[in-house]
């Protein structure tokens, strides 16, 4: 095992923090989409009887976990694929020829991007309060954070894995259509996966986001398809597997820095 360099991880993280601070407006801008989902879906369908949602649960409460899941999915996938922008800018070469092990670089990127994703998710949770969502107490908030973290790691790993094998950003739309959207729609973000027809339902259980969303819903509003412990266990297994594959692809991608 190559040594992990804390200093390197820290500076990669600090670079990301400086960037989001410098481009605050971008961060705010990326909140617009999820908030629109909350406003237009959440308020619009608030009175509607959506199949599979237990009585007494308002729709906005129900989709909060879904909107956060969506934010984590998109942010983390794009965070991982930032690698390709850095490659196009040339900066990746500087990172890749430094004496820092690929593993440390990978960890640095994961830690940095997940910080951003989680900051955004918490902001959504806060904005939800304006729409009548009840902010969780401390214990539940911490549990939510745990789910956020593991979900974010999972999709960062996936984003990094994919971009380790892509030449440039040209393939973005393909990844968007064939990876990100399917993951999103199969996750039960906006209605319980039980509402899907039988042929689609099994696919949902291969989607890590399903467990992330279900788990967050459990800790946020006490409604879920599976016990949250199970959600967490399965999600963590997915996370571990994807991270290991991601690290491997990243370490062996022979001309990532070229």
């Amino acid at each position: 095992m190559k040594p992990i360099k804390i200093k390197a991880i820290y500076i990669i993280w600090l670079r990301e923090m400086r960037r989001i601070w410098r481009f605050k407006s971008e961060l705010i801008g990326s909140l617009v989409m999820p908030v629109m989902f909350l406003v237009f879906l959440g308020l619009g369908l608030n009175g509607a009887a959506v199949p599979g949602i237990p009585r007494g649960v308002s729709y906005i409460d129900f989709i909060m976990a879904g909107v956060i899941g969506m934010t984590l999915l998109f942010n983390s996938m794009f965070g991982g694929m930032d690698l390709l922008w850095e490659k196009e800018m040339g900066f990746l070469k500087e990172v890749m020829v430094s004496p820092v092990s690929r593993l440390s670089i990978f960890i640095g990127k994961v830690v940095a991007s997940s910080t951003t994703s989680i900051i955004e998710s918490v902001m959504i949770l806060l904005l939800g309060m304006l729409l009548g969502f009840k902010f969780p107490d401390f214990g539940r908030f911490m549990l939510t954070l745990m789910f956020m973290l593991v979900t974010s790691f999972t999709f960062l790993g996936l984003g990094l894995a994919i971009s380790s094998r892509m030449k440039d950003t040209q393939g973005f739309p393909v990844v968007m259509n064939f990876v990100i959207f399917p993951l999103f729609f199969l996750s039960g973000a906006f209605y319980p996966v039980e509402a899907l027809p039988g042929i689609l339902r099994p696919l949902c259980y291969f989607d890590p986001l399903t467990y992330g969303v279900d788990g967050m819903r459990a800790v946020l509003i006490g409604v879920s398809s599976m016990p949250p412990i199970l959600d967490f266990a399965v999600l963590s297994l997915f996370c571990l597997a994807i991270i290991l594959i991601g690290v491997h692809l990243f370490e062996t991608g022979s001309d990532i820095g070229n």
Binding site: A8, G90, S254, D255
Partner: protein, 323 residues
């Protein structure tokens, strides 16, 4: 045994052979130059030696480590200035340097001192806290160089470091490169398009063309291959052969109204030549002296003038022809 040893290095990109069997050694502490026209394979060679590209075949050792199997160890020993700047446009100049220092594990105080010193060298102190996005091309180049010079590696690779810089800045950077090489004993491998740069800096130069080394020696010896000075006389009439009566004239050629005499130490011989001409009634209108330059050497070995910039039609034809 050199600190860099390359043997029959080859790199193929699909149908293009960018580097076609290059071998050379660089002893520790040398300032070695790689000279070649556009597309000769300079950058590709550097990329293979710095672990950015896997060679197709051949072997190379950098600081004693194998470029195939000991890539991490190599990265510990080198620094690079890239031809295409590799800066983060969305950080400030200072932040780019800081990022580098942390990645290379430099202690905090050393980092701050070095950043100050190096910003001064490249005259960016005043702009250090602006985003690199707002820098001009030359400023980005200078920052790129500054970063490469910061952590004092064992071996420093510089791929056309001073491309596009003004003459004054280039001079200052040359001096600094020399100090690093002589004072800090850093081995430096530098590619360049500028003949004066190679001549001024490099102890040894390899001329590469179409992926192969066509000549390799010190600039002096290379120029020696071209031969001696040539004194040109613009005359009305007369016999060129006459000058061969002067013992020191090695040969003499006539083109149009111009005589060119090959002599050693042209400057010192001009007075004698003039007296001789006068004595033989040859009226000289102008005298010129031409020293052999690396440019001539380059011309001789590659058959081309060094091309600055790229994209002429001729060149593209050549490149496709090579596939």
């Amino acid at each position: 045994m050199g600190i860099i040893e390359a043997r029959e290095l080859v790199k193929k990109f699909k149908s293009i052979t960018a580097v076609d069997g290059i071998s050379f050694d660089v002893p520790q502490g040398e300032l070695f130059g790689i000279l070649g026209p556009n597309g000769a394979g300079k950058t590709t060679t550097i990329k293979m030696l710095t672990t950015l590209l896997m060679p197709t075949s051949g072997s190379a050792f950098v600081a004693g480590f194998d470029v195939y199997r000991q890539r991490d160890e190599i990265r510990e020993s080198i620094g690079i200035v890239f031809q295409n700047v590799a800066l983060d446009l969305y950080m400030t100049g200072r932040e780019n340097l800081e990022f580098h220092a942390w990645m290379y594990d430099m202690p905090g105080k050393l980092m701050r001192d070095r950043i100050k010193e190096i910003l001064k060298l490249v005259e960016l102190s005043g702009r250090a806290d602006d985003l690199v996005e707002t820098y001009s091309g030359g400023m980005r180049r200078r920052l790129e160089i500054a970063r490469g010079l910061m952590h004092r590696p064992k071996i420093l690779f510089m791929d056309e470091p001073t491309l596009g810089l003004d003459a004054q800045t280039r001079r200052r950077i040359w001096e600094y490169i020399r100090v690093l090489n002589k004072g800090e004993k850093i081995t430096i491998i530098l590619t360049t398009h500028y003949m004066e740069e190679a001549d001024f800096l490099c102890e040894r130069v390899g001329i590469i063309d179409r992926g192969r080394i066509v000549a390799m020696d010190s600039p002096e010896n290379l120029k020696g291959i071209i031969g001696s000075d040539s004194v040109t006389l613009d005359v009305d009439s007369g016999d060129c052969g006459l000058f061969e009566q002067l013992g020191f004239v090695k040969s003499c050629g006539k083109t149009g109204g111009l005589f060119s005499l090959n002599v050693e130490d042209g400057e010192g011989k001009i007075p004698e030549i003039m007296l001789f001409a006068q004595a033989h009634g040859i009226k000289v209108r102008r005298v010129g002296l031409k020293r052999p330059s690396l440019e001539d050497v380059f011309l001789k070995f590659t058959g081309t003038k060094i091309r600055e910039g790229s994209g002429t039609e001729e060149e593209e034809e050549e490149e496709t022809g090579r596939q």
